[in-house]
Assembly symmetry: C2
Homo-oligomer: 267 residues x 2
Amino acid sequence: MTNARPTLIRIKQDTSLVEKIMNELRFNTRDCGSCPIRHRAVCARCQPDELEQLDAIKYYRTFEAGQPVIWSGDPMEFVSSVVSGIATLSQTMEDGRTQMVGLLLPSDFIGRPGRDAAPFDVVAVTDLTLCCFRKKPFEDMMEKTPSIGTRLLQMTLDELDSAREWMLVLGRKTAREKIASLLAILARRDASLYKKPPHDGMSFELPLTRESMADYLGLTLETVSRQVSALKKSGVIELQGKRRVIIPDLQALVAETGDDVDGAPIT
Amino acid sequence: MTNARPTLIRIKQDTSLVEKIMNELRFNTRDCGSCPIRHRAVCARCQPDELEQLDAIKYYRTFEAGQPVIWSGDPMEFVSSVVSGIATLSQTMEDGRTQMVGLLLPSDFIGRPGRDAAPFDVVAVTDLTLCCFRKKPFEDMMEKTPSIGTRLLQMTLDELDSAREWMLVLGRKTAREKIASLLAILARRDASLYKKPPHDGMSFELPLTRESMADYLGLTLETVSRQVSALKKSGVIELQGKRRVIIPDLQALVAETGDDVDGAPIT
DNA sequence: CGCAGTTTTGATGGACCTCAAAGACCGTGG
DNA sequence: CCACGGTCTTTGAGGTCCATCAAAACTGCG
């Protein structure tokens, strides 16, 4: 609604291109030590010698925004960690109704040791870089390396909690509360990406279209649009262009989610 | 609507009492070998010597129907497996709206190695027997016994998939489809409990009240009641009394869930 | 029998969906 | 530079599914 800065956007694209090239260079050095997700990914607890082994079998893959990574039911030849970018995990019914069941951010793990077929669709929302391991070698390594299994269990338990918290959002919250919940989560995640706590006046890029938001929230895109406008009108959020969200008062946003003030920490 | 058999119900109670006493006797012999959930629980992959160690630190606890097992936020002193009975995992908002996020059946695991506070409320729906381990000794044992961690990872990944499939139910299905989905799941689980595939004409006990069903499905109890009646009127299900459900045609039920015919195997 | 809890049934309203069209944004090509 | 089409978003009007409120029927139990 108030977006008239094509130059700004063009600059953004340039930086992301530079970033992309730098990533290519950085990542392909195979140096796990300088990996940006090193401390949070499935390999977080590995010893130096274990990292070396992983180094030997890992490879990077990139996907452009909008491309599918894997379809539900497909055989999975690899497991992977998200290094940069965002992907969605979703499920579609025959008649086209779709429900997003997860948002995959840097350090999140994709795949299921011990399972052959993918249970859900994975699609790249932004340009995406994955750190991949062929499934069999990874499974073999898991057998011998408890630190991987332990870390994966930890991550899976966390994701299970997140999924269950999201069930409350889907089952019981109003459209307005759903939007507020999603924004609150994105705000928290964005803040944690830059390693500082969320604060009043913070802003972040909204990586999802209205339709994706609707698929995540179990709503229609029209309802999403209306409720975003409503939150803006109430002053709970501000928009810069259509994709950047400003949170003038974090408490006010959290209040709109319907959660306790101490906040369910849906990561 | 067609329930006039108090005698039948009284008999049921008697058998369950007998069963209870027998369980007490059986379980307290501490013999993991004869444990009914031995092959599916977290200990499924343990070697005889590992089982002996678990034997040494395990203890049983029972809860009557309706009793809480643990509240969200409480410190967890123990982890456990459901041996018999059913419990629910749920979440409640300040204003009272509640959402069930899991149904805990025999062999399911309760607790989070590495976490102190319980993330959700656990309540016994029927009389419930748990096989418990104090958390610290269990965690110590997990360190030394990879077969436990591996099995727990497997179970957690399965639960994560189930939770995500349930998100589709909550977010995108109609009330009628939700009811059908719940009944289909209960039918499958009941069949697997007796180790035979679900079949036409099968029947099972409905362990949940209309309100619990509503909390599971993100509906009101009135809507649940209406849709159950509607399914009955369409001949998709039959009722014996208010709690026993007969499935004359399994395909017909699955068709009502909106899922593919090959069926999302929500376990 | 009478009471408390559960379930059913009915009437009404509202939150959200559906259908439709216009507006904003962006890249492309004249 | 502007026209053009494609995609995403907003806005509007109308309809429907389900929630809400209310009361009656049923069940088990003292």
